[in-house]
Symmetry: C2
Subunit: 139 residues, 2 copies
DNA sequence: AATCAAACGAGAATCATTCTCAACCTAGCC
DNA sequence: GGCTAGGTTGAGAATGATTCTCGTTTGATT
């Protein structure tokens, strides 16, 4: 399916795999720059895009706008607080169990998915609760 | 939970609700600019961010980098081709049925979610198949 | 009407990402 | 070896969506 990876692409993917969690393009570049396989920023982004097209790399965007990359073989998903923006991994993937009806797919070949829950973390719920009380107390 | 919406915020949300599908910030601004409730670009983004924090608006990023906004009450999800980038709505949401174990949530209050499948559309599978054959035929 | 705080918007600033293009490999061939 | 064609690289410039700044406006309250 995906053609053979070039040496550079393998280095990039390897670097991505060794990082715990997700990395931004800039960070990945900084990290590679200090490794024994440095490469230019343009090259990092070029291959990141290519690997995404081949379904080997996924990318998600935080509410802050930051783009984070990770290898797709990690089936990680997240809970993200819409208020404070903290994001935390979800233990295991509940989508594996899901069957997509073939009729819905209509020829589409799924390679991986992203699932993300947005809501309020415990801290922000408390903070908002307090703020609401304060408001009520000051009519 | 979310404080009362200001007039501007209601206009913005209304505009978002009347557009079919999803809109980029720029497009929404352009659209409002020609309506009877024009507003500045800064204001559009300011409130879009605020509404996201209140869980009323969601945003997803296409592989092309474009950011698209939609009201969260629409429970739409998508199939996106990693190769050509076309994106197509999925009939109905298979996540509704999912139960998240409370233990996994640990105080987190989910408001909405995003689910997106990435893979190859029928056309790109064919194109790749042909390319592979071409390669095999030219050793 | 006077005062004050909050909301607005034009334009500047930011910054991740993409583009440009000259230099540089690599493989195949003479 | 020397040569060419084709693809890859990376420094720096360009892009463009989003955010910030800050003087102005609005609107609520007294």
């Amino acid at each position: 399916m995906s053609p053979k990876l070039s040496a550079r692409q393998q280095q990039l993917l390897a670097a991505l795999r060794t990082t715990a969690g997700e990395v931004s393009g800039q960070d990945l570049h900084a990290h590679l720059r200090q490794s024994n396989t440095p490469m230019g920023l343009a090259t990092v982004y070029r291959h990141l895009r290519q690997l995404q097209q081949w379904g080997l790399v996924r990318c998600r965007h935080l509410p802050s706008g930051e783009a984070l990359f990770a290898p797709t073989e990690r089936d990680d998903h997240h809970l993200t607080c819409v208020d404070c923006g903290t994001t935390r991994p979800l233990g295991h993937c509940p989508v594996q169990a899901l069957e997509l009806p073939g009729s819905a797919l209509d020829g589409f070949l799924p390679l991986f998915h992203t699932l993300e829950f947005f809501g309020l973390c415990a801290a922000c719920q408390q903070r908002q609760g307090r703020a609401a009380e304060d408001n009520a107390a000051r009519p």
